[in-house]
């Protein structure tokens, strides 16, 4: 369970932005890849805890889940993955290990009030 330390990093990062912009943050938008190794529900509840007694208290964490996309050598194109337990192209079934997308753990936007 490392979601709390990740939530604390998110809060820290957002607080820095709040100070820099002299703004109040209502929401943090996060991209979360399916291979990031972070559980969304655990992160959501950790986020609330991490926000307590900070400038982010009462703010929302809006998580956009990012599916895994792999490069398929068969199709010679970026394709969705069959499943996280089966690294093969969802279109043609060829084994595919080159990850194009799905490891994201990134704050992408902030909803601010100046």
């Amino acid at each position: 369970m490392h979601e709390l330390s990740i939530a604390m990093s998110i809060v820290e990062l957002a607080e820095e932005e709040a100070v820099r912009r002299g703004a109040k943050i209502n929401a943090v938008h996060l991209k979360l890849g399916a291979l990031a190794g972070v559980v969304k529900s655990a992160l959501q509840s950790s986020y609330e805890m991490a926000c307590e007694n900070t400038a982010l208290q009462g703010s929302q964490l809006i998580v956009e889940e990012v599916p895994v996309v792999v490069y398929c050598p068969g199709c010679r194109a970026d394709r969705p993955l069959s499943s996280i337990q089966f690294f093969s192209c969802a279109e043609c079934g060829a084994p595919a290990s080159q990850i194009v997308q799905g490891k994201e753990l990134e704050v992408v936007a902030l909803e601010i009030e100046e």
């Binding site: 369970m1 490392h2 330390s5 990740i6 990093s9 998110i10 990062l13 932005e17 912009r21 209502n26 938008h29 996060l30 291979l35 990031a36 190794g37 972070v38 996280i84 337990q85 089966f86 690294f87 093969s88 084994p95 595919a96 290990s97 990850i99 753990l105 990134e106 704050v107 992408v108 936007a109 902030l110 909803e111 601010i112 009030e113 100046e114």
Partner: protein, 227 residues
């Protein structure tokens, strides 16, 4: 003031701090010519026994050292010290994984140029360590035959993040009716093309193959580094 709420774009990697330190470590390891392998697995898969064996054998030919992470106790460091290699325990307290800064502080005062191999044994955990780069050149995931063939499917993220898989305790495979075909298929499903070693620390089976692999990887890394 008091304008409507608005959305501003930022792009900030949440684990940037760890990644920055990990990149610096990787560069330091490369410059020093030391090959760094990290070990991840569930608790009880045989990481420490395996590492003790590997350190003992490698020491005959190479300069080796290890860092070992646990929540508490320095039992593992004491066990590994029997190999006569320099070993340092990292106790994480309540943290379920190692982070790059812990590796960085543990290495303070070490002259990396005096090493050929450095092993980093992560905390026994198949979940959290997958997100943290430690600057290693190779991540090894261990799976013991007693854990069952479907571990890779249950923890695909960490298996996918590894470079090499090792199936340990093969001396018990028969007793637990370990299904090799299913295990291989599951590993290849979550990480197509991953090299898999089978070994037993107890009987010694398969150890040589892995030691050869390490020597090859070290030679490759150094030739790339020179070129």
């Amino acid at each position: 003031m008091n304008s409507e709420p608005r959305l501003v774009e930022v792009r900030k990697n949440v684990l940037k701090q760890n990644d920055v330190v990990a990149r610096a470590l990787r560069e330091r390891f490369r410059e020093a010519g030391v090959f760094v392998a990290s070990l991840v697995s569930s608790p009880g898969s045989g990481k420490t026994a395996f590492l003790e064996k590997v350190l003992t054998e490698l020491r005959k030919e190479f300069r080796v050292a290890a860092l070992v992470g646990d929540l508490a106790t320095d039992n593992d460091a004491a066990r590994l010290a029997r190999s006569q290699a320099p070993v340092k325990q990292i106790t994480t307290g309540t943290l379920c994984h190692l982070e790059a800064t812990m590796v960085q502080s543990a290495l303070e005062g070490w002259n990396l140029a005096e090493l050929d191999f450095l092993f980093i044994e992560n905390v026994g955990n198949l979940v959290c360590p997958s997100s943290y780069d430690l600057g290693e050149a190779m991540r090894v995931v261990l799976l013991s035959v007693t854990e069952g063939e479907d571990k890779p499917l249950k923890y695909p993220t960490i298996f996918n993040s590894a470079d090499v898989a090792i199936v340990t305790k093969t001396d018990l495979a028969h007793a637990v009716e370990f299904d090799w075909a299913a295990a291989s298929a599951n590993i290849q499903a979550v990480r197509p093309g991953m090299e898999v070693f089978r070994l037993s620390t107890k009987s010694g089976e398969g150890i040589d193959d892995f030691l050869k692999h390490l020597a090859t990887r070290l030679a490759e890394a150094r030739s790339i580094s020179v070129a």
